[in-house]
Amino acid sequence: MQQTAALPTYHVNARDPQRGGRAMADLATGFASWRLAWALARLDLRNRYRGSVIGPFWVTLSTAVMVVGLGLLYSQLLRQDITLYLPHLAVSLIVWNTIAAMVPDATSCLTSAEGVIRQLPLPLTTHALRSVFRNGLSAAHSLPLILVVFAAMGHWPGLEALLALPGLVLLGINSLAASLFLGMVCARFRDIGQIVTNIMQLAFFMTPVIWKADLLSNPSVLLLNPFYPMLEVIRGPLVEGGVSLTVWGMALLYTAIHCGIAAAFFVRFRSRVAFWV
């Protein structure tokens, strides 16, 4: 029998679970079958806005209304020049809305796939990627709004705007880590989802989304808020002409910690998820 060696073999031994290797294999097959996650993400968006005329552009529209309304009010309250404040607010709100949509999605990305997890041996990475893609696609609908605001205010960033791209990559990495980590934690402990919602509400006010960091007498305390460097690495290049290395360093540090925790949890508890959901 020549084909014997080519047979796919599935071997598990409870005394030697090889958790690390299996977690790596899960990630690898999950990324290799990204087309599935992409197709599911597009389906999710389509189904969410089924029958709606402008579909996901509702998010764009509501963000636009927020930007104009808050922009007029807060430029007065905070005594800011509106031509500088509005670009800041538009980018801040869009990035924040993306983060604020990703986090609750992350908490439910495994529990909502319960039917599939218990029936098909799919990598968990696929479900996490689905949530990342879905939010990425949804956020992409708001990009035209940034251009509109920049054009209306005559604010055009130079080539340094391209530095926002690595920031977006960092956001994607964090989103994947959050989906795996929060997805698993919330599958096991159903109360965490509620706690996360509360934390995100608080974080909105604690992070310079509406206000600007330089309004604080000591802006460096903001570096203790992990959302701030994450927001700033995308906003800085687009609005303020660049980001300090300290902010980049902190963003990388928080991402590394986040990924580390997520990876540890994923390696240890991946095989238990089918029993949790």
Partner: protein, 254 residues
């Protein structure tokens, strides 16, 4: 060569969202056989306990036993969905499972979109997905309804689509749950022919069933599970006789 070997295979389901402690106590005092607390004081149900078996190429195995004996759990464990908490499992060969036909179907998508989605779930490339679509379209006989969202299908149409998609495989190891034996009579003949060819082409068949006619017709070996343990393993007639099932009446010649 396709084979399945289990040594001391055990699966335990943790019961997490039990709520009150009193409920936990009551559960433990009543069903002390399969429900117990493990070392970290969680309540667990032993779904499979210390299973040892070896299935070689060419064997057609029936899993029999009452509801809750662990038949479907064993199928899912072999399929790689549940990882064992004890023991060892080695499965050689490509696995095809007919456990839940509807898994991964999207009711807002048309039949055709669902076929494509199923292809992606199986990790197929575009050419294979096109072939799958053609095969399913022909077999299900849904015609123009393939371009209608499955939400609008009748129950019979959904079964046809699900069955056609699920059985468009050619695995070496075929895992089958008993839902396949239900369906409308008109479709059943066509379905059975397809199942029989699938079964004949697989190196190993494992089927969980209460239908002893099917078991006798298709299987060469039966494993009887009771409360998560193997209580009998051998030729079909022997195991069924042990369960008190009468041997089949000789069929009059047609």
């Amino acid at each position: 060569m396709a084979s399945i070997v289990a040594e001391g295979l055990s699966i335990e389901f943790p019961l997490y969202h039990l709520g009150a402690r009193s409920l936990k106590k009551r559960l433990l005092s009543k069903a002390a056989i399969r429900v117990r607390t493990d070392e970290s004081n969680r309540v667990v149900v032993s779904a499979l306990r210390d299973l040892n078996f070896s299935i070689q190429r060419g064997e057609r195995v029936a899993l029999v036993g009452s509801n809750g004996a662990g038949k479907t759990t064993l199928l899912r464990t072999i399929a790689g969905i549940y990882e064992p908490v004890g023991g060892e499992l080695t499965v050689q060969g490509e696995i095809g499972s007919l456990i839940d036909p509807g898994a991964g179907m999207d009711s807002d998508s048309t039949g055709r979109e669902n076929i494509r989605l199923r292809g992606l779930y199986r990790g197929m490339d575009d050419a294979s997905i096109a072939a799958l679509e053609e095969d399913v379209a022909e077999f299900s006989g849904l015609g123009e309804f393939l371009d209608v969202p499955t939400r609008g299908y009748s129950a019979g149409m959904s079964v046809r689509l699900a069955f056609a998609m699920a059985t468009a495989i050619a695995p070496q190891i075929l895992l089958m749950d008993e839902w396949f034996l239900a369906g409308d009579a008109d479709f059943m003949q066509k379905a059975e022919n397809r199942l029989v060819s699938l079964v004949n082409n697989a190196d190993i068949l494992i089927i969980a069933s209460h239908d002893f006619d099917i078991v006798r017709r298709w299987c060469t070996r039966a494993i009887r599970l009771n409360a998560g343990r193997i209580v009998a393993d051998g030729p079909v007639d022997e195991v069924l006789a042990g369960m008190g099932v009468a041997p089949p009446q000789p069929q009059p010649a047609v």
